[in-house]
């Protein structure tokens, strides 16, 4: 068995793994702005994009914010995003409406709105 065949074989072996989407998504509902307000449930201050989980009227949403470098330079440090704090976001929802995911245009923390785009 040649080395390239082993490589292709190894790649094919991965196919039985359960499929999940990566963090990224391509289709967002740009025709509508989704506004959410609620408590931060979790903060993932990380690259390539920071995320928070937000509870709005009993529904947990995953909000994609921005790369950490951009967040930091606009004054949204990791310390500014606290679990339990109430924040408001405007953004665009994933076109797949079975997923409660929003890419945020801006976030309002303690009355201060920061543009994220």
């Amino acid at each position: 068995m040649t080395s390239w065949f082993k490589l292709a074989f190894a790649a094919a072996l991965l196919a039985p793994l359960p499929a999940v989407a990566h963090h990224g998504w391509s289709g967002q509902d740009n025709a509508h702005v989704t506004t959410l307000e609620g408590q931060i449930q979790a903060v993932r201050y990380r690259d390539p994009h920071a995320e928070i989980d937000l509870m709005d009227h009993g529904q947990k949403w995953t909000i994609t914010l921005a790369p950490t470098e951009r967040l930091g330079s606009r004054g949204v440090s990791e310390a500014a995003l606290k679990v339990g704090d109430t924040v408001k976001i405007n953004g665009h929802r994933n076109l797949d409406k079975t997923r409660y995911e929003v890419k945020a245009n801006d976030i309002t923390i303690g009355g201060k709105t920061t543009n994220l785009r």
């Binding site: 292709a8 499929a19 990566h22 990224g24 391509s26 470098e69």
Partner: protein, 162 residues
């Protein structure tokens, strides 16, 4: 089969939880820096070998093929090296989701086929003799090279969106 897939998944999860994975997610500026190296790797690989492939396919016959191949093939191999190192680092940031992504699995398969095609091409034809024109098999493999590396690039870019 399932046992091996499980072992690969476990390894991916360990890489994601490793200090390298944490550094890729949490070190200021690191992710975009490694992403930039990955992009430069694509430029060297697809640009370098793409020009050789185009010449093998019959474009730019005014340029001597042997000299072109001797000059650009090492650049393409350097690009592949940059891609492998930077790609492994980017993978560590999100290894679990990546390894389960059908798109990522397709990308790995395309890279394996592209590398196999390149290896067999080198073994069969090398840099060609001075003044020689490539036979039909070489042209077919050059077309495959163009198709495989551009496909791997397209699939790789879509990984960020699907």
């Amino acid at each position: 089969m399932d046992g091996l897939a499980h072992a690969v998944l476990t390894l991916a999860q360990q890489l994601e939880a490793s200090p390298v994975g944490a550094a890729m997610r949490g070190t200021r500026g690191l992710y975009p820096a490694v992403n930039t190296v990955h992009l430069l790797g694509v430029v060297l690989l697809v640009g370098g070998i793409g020009v050789v492939d185009a010449r093998v396919l019959g474009l730019g016959r005014a340029v001597p093929l042997a000299a072109l191949s001797r000059y650009l093939t090492p650049a393409a191999i350097a690009g592949l090296g940059l891609l492998a190192v930077s790609g492994a680092l980017l993978f560590c940031a999100d290894a679990g989701p990546f390894i389960r992504s059908p798109l990522f699995q397709a990308k790995l398969a395309l890279i394996a086929l592209g590398a196999a095609n390149a290896f067999l091409f080198r073994r069969r034809f090398g840099d060609f003799d001075d003044g020689a024109e490539p036979p039909a098999l070489a042209r077919a493999m050059a077309a495959a090279s163009l198709g495989l590396w551009t496909s791997a690039t397209v699939v790789g870019r879509w990984l960020a969106y699907l």
